[in-house]
Symmetry: C2
DNA sequence: TTGTAGGCGTTATCAT
DNA sequence: ATGATAACGCCTACAA
């Protein structure tokens, strides 16, 4: 006997209940649920109304077991200080997942980290993730990618260095934006512009440096490598780099920090050394994080459309999981300059 | 035939493979996996080694289908600007989930929002969440709680106004911390202390106001309601409130903002009006967000152990899901004062 | 202490 | 176009 579903149980509604109510077989209900072809419109309507009347929701576990598909997208990210980046990533990935009927599972990573590979594999099985999104810099961690490959889980990356993700990736025009903002400073009369590099693990870091150099070249301003210092995207490294720059024999009149957090550090350090901003020193950042607009003076910076980028790769991933052709392996996005008051004519 | 699992498929390892390898029945393997009693140590070892040798990971869908349990905890949160709060919540909830073999599913909410109830119900079925964590202010949204109750999904809350969550809740000593920090300002000689209230939807807002008033009372400083203005936890509301305070006939010498973001707004506005901080005006915030230490001067504020609070309620929830007695329905946490340079003796 | 049989609620296969 | 029936991999009875 199939489970006659007598009217005695106010329990979970199953596909059988719907089938009975619509006077069809469960397979037909299944067809309707999964938008399969070969269902007469009239039948479909009957099923559809039974579904709404009964408020039927398919059991995801059963569906997963039977179909061997999982409808969950994993998001593995570095659990760093700069979290506003992740907020945008999360929103972008989430909304795409939602509209596609997928579910988003998180896996923060505290780096550096031994036996990362094992952790990832455990996550993958515990989450039963069908695919994974990897925002920078996670998309360039070998152990993570190995684990993914061994588990045979496809992934898409955001702003990676290695652009070999099987599904696709998104990046933004770091080079161009940095070029433009450097040019903006040059046009304000700055000839000596300090540059604080980003974390070497990020692809964006070298792209931004190149953009800076290209702008100098275009404007025939000599490149002085004493003006270029190493940072790691965080506040403290921005401070240290700035200290170094301001102690130069011939200090810069402007500083281009590769992140807002470093720009905040630069501002902090400059203040400690009694520089007024922007009169004595112009400072610009990158990312347009909340901090940028809360500093005094508000920071001139670059906004990247992170949410859109995250949404785009998530969509790529889901299309791939569905077996559809991913039309664009690579997606490029433009950045916007956000001119505020931390910069001025010289 | 049970599925003899011939050596021909390099496919997914199932419980049958392990059973065969260990020369036991699948039930015994199941017992070992689920730490059930009544397995001879020797047998257990045999099974355990088979599991590791085969790198067996149970299929979560099958497990969920069969046991009707789900091992996923949902986290429904307001998708606001102040995200560093969520970062801590996320980390606390995640790590507890991980150590307990649970998985964490997110559901950001963009408020205000019509048909919230439907969205929550869809999330619950799509996620198949066994229980849910509700950080403030979501734990006080009627539609959310209705949806949860109708779906029969238990939840625990962080800093709620209504403390009727069936599982439990955590809160911190907002009153005491505000009292202490207000007292700190009083001892520095401030007699007129402006107060910017937090968002009325948050329980913390009224607790903080009460702490402020209690400190005034204890120090016999008259309460002037002109010094108390309404804010909503965000930067702009902090600015506006401060504008109002500074235009007072007899303006305050210090401002207590109920959040760092509002304190940042206060600082911004004060700067625009050419106040020096802290000489002309002391400012304090609440939360110790990243912004607090990046402002100039760095902000005196209060740190609440959000990560721990989130961990605590998540643990409560999981204990509840396991059918264990939740020992403490309510968990209280202390805050720390973080004294920096945005305040000074008068 | 260990094993056997029977679901759990879907999707997949193959008829009709 | 629709339906009967067998998986899917595990857990919960209940036996032995």
């Amino acid at each position: 006997m199939k489970k006659t579903s007598d009217t005695d149980s106010p329990d979970k509604i199953t596909i059988f209940d719907v089938a009975e109510r619509a006077s069809v077989s469960i397979k037909t209900v299944s067809r309707v649920m999964n938008r399969e072809p070969n269902v007469r419109p009239k039948t479909r309507d009957k099923v559809l109304s039974a579904i709404t009347e009964l408020d039927y929701h398919p059991n995801v576990a059963a569906r997963g077991l039977s179909s061997k598909r999982s409808y969950v997208v994993g998001l593995i990210y570095e659990n760093g200080d700069e979290f506003s980046y992740m907020k945008d990533v999360l929103n972008g990935a989430f909304s795409v997942c939602e509209t596609n009927g997928y579910t988003l599972l998180l896996r923060p990573l505290n780096l550096p980290n031994t036996n990362l590979k094992l952790q990832i594999k455990q996550f993958l099985t515990a989450a039963n993730a069908a695919g994974v999104v990897l925002p920078a810099p996670v998309g360039d961690i070998a152990e993570v990618k190995d684990a993914l490959q061994e588990a045979n889980v496809p992934y898409a990356t955001i702003s990676p260095k290695n652009t070999d993700a099987e599904v696709g990736y998104a990046h933004c025009n770091d080079h161009g934006a940095t070029y433009d903002l450097t040019e903006f400073l040059l046009r304000q009369g700055h000839q000596r512009i300090g540059f604080i590099k980003g974390h070497p693990d990020h692809a964006a870091s070298s792209a931004r440096l190149k953009g800076y150099r290209a702008a100098l070249r275009a404007h025939k301003v000599p490149y002085d490598k004493a003006l270029v210092t190493q940072g790691y995207f965080d506040f403290d490294s921005g401070r240290k780099a700035t200290e170094q720059l301001l102690h130069l024999h011939n200090p810069p009149t402007a500083i281009f920090a590769s992140s807002d957090d470093m720009a905040a550090g630069a501002m902090f350090e400059a203040r400690e050394q009694n520089f007024s901003i922007p009169e004595d020193l112009s400072i610009v950042g990158f990312d347009d994080t909340p901090v940028a607009s809360r500093l005094w003076p508000p920071l001139t910076t670059v906004r990247q459309p992170i949410e859109e980028m995250a949404g785009a790769v998530t969509q790529q991933l889901i299309d791939h999981l569905r077996g559809e052709k991913v039309t664009q392996f690579q997606r490029s996005f433009d950045c916007d300059l956000v001119i505020r008051s931390s910069t001025c004519q010289i």
